[in-house]
Symmetry: C2
Subunit: 234 residues, 2 copies
Amino acid sequence: MDRQILQERLAALIASTPVGERLPSEPKLAKQLGVSRATLREAMRVFETQGLVWRRQGVGTFVARPAQVLESGLEVLESIERMAERIGLPVTMGELHVQVQSASRSVANVLQLEPGASIVHVARVILVEDRPAAYLEDMVPEGYLTVEEVNGYFTGSVLDLLLRRESPPLGSSRCEINSVAAESAVARALNIQRGDAVLRFVSLLYTVDGKPIDYSLSYFLPGYFRFHVVRRVS
Amino acid sequence: MDRQILQERLAALIASTPVGERLPSEPKLAKQLGVSRATLREAMRVFETQGLVWRRQGVGTFVARPAQVLESGLEVLESIERMAERIGLPVTMGELHVQVQSASRSVANVLQLEPGASIVHVARVILVEDRPAAYLEDMVPEGYLTVEEVNGYFTGSVLDLLLRRESPPLGSSRCEINSVAAESAVARALNIQRGDAVLRFVSLLYTVDGKPIDYSLSYFLPGYFRFHVVRRVS
DNA sequence: CCGCTGTCAATTGTCTGACAACCCATTAAG
DNA sequence: CTTAATGGGTTGTCAGACAATTGACAGCGG
């Protein structure tokens, strides 16, 4: 059995088990899923780390909360478009600007490039019911992304584009969360007043071997999206 | 060896290994740490889930990024006071209000209580260099927290108080992130204008068996604190 | 009847040894 | 020079076993 399949089946099991209920014992579950106890335990450790289940020696493994909560959290990197699709919110893309720029000093520094290196800059507005809800900027070193690629296949998400071409394999993203007053460019794009409160994500996406590949700024108008994160104790 | 010790030693090893470098092979590392390969793999799976390391069959295990990044992220539940202490930011507590209230319908609903049940309401302002930086509200069902306890030992953090008394054991917290315009009470507490942008966390803390124990609203002025979260792929 | 204690089965935590799958460098063959 | 085979090293998985812990239950004494 594939590892991913195992994780999904376990997630389904956890989701379908009432909170507080005990899961089948490890030997039974391992036999039922057709894997060894060691493999099952390793997979279960992931859910334990995420606070979904809770194990106690001599007693059993219990469901702490439904898996659904996590699936929509910030822990998993997901494009706005896929998130909207999942929750059934119809979004469209307005005003798209794609161009090749030379990186400024600060951007080059963040992306670990030489100052002046070519980057592809993608900026667009996300519309919900034809009203601006988010403004997204992505900066990707040229070579990982081409202007033609964006103009050809673009559905609104740079992340989905990078995920589709499986090389380089993506690792994780570090996302800093702020509340800022909208500067003029952002205010214009979102059709709000300068100085209005917007939620800003500053994200840096890394490949598995730690190279930054996408520096993005996301501005969200309050109300359209709900973001959350599950925080574990110790 | 204790599980926590093992995790800490592994975290130290990862932190002291340059990004991109290979870790010792599993058999060697297991022997070196005095645990079996199965146990080591289970522990390592935690770091893999968090995007700290990256394993590839037939090749090895590699460090994806330094552990330090995660340690200050939102994934781990930590009080503002401890976070400030860790980054060397001197904070003090201003205006503390503690009182027993009867829960409103919405609060009772969130905390899974009968409407009108008694809750302990704690509100205080966090000062950085004698200037307001955050406004925190906690609502805890009576029984988990007493007014005397707060007035006696309080250092500014309800979370630390709940952590100190080890029963009930805490599980995880779900934190929703918003950017909102400050309402009048918050604006007054933080000494800002009504309508100014503040970052708001709405958190619900659960025990390991899934009972809500602390409903908290946190308002942060931009600039004093930096919050981030690591998002993993798929 | 109540409370205490020892016993026992069930469950998770860990260990051992082994094999499979995979990757990479080296070597051999063409 | 190019290509195929090979072998060592690494992670992925497995089966079986034992240790540690827990909760329930029977038995006993008061």
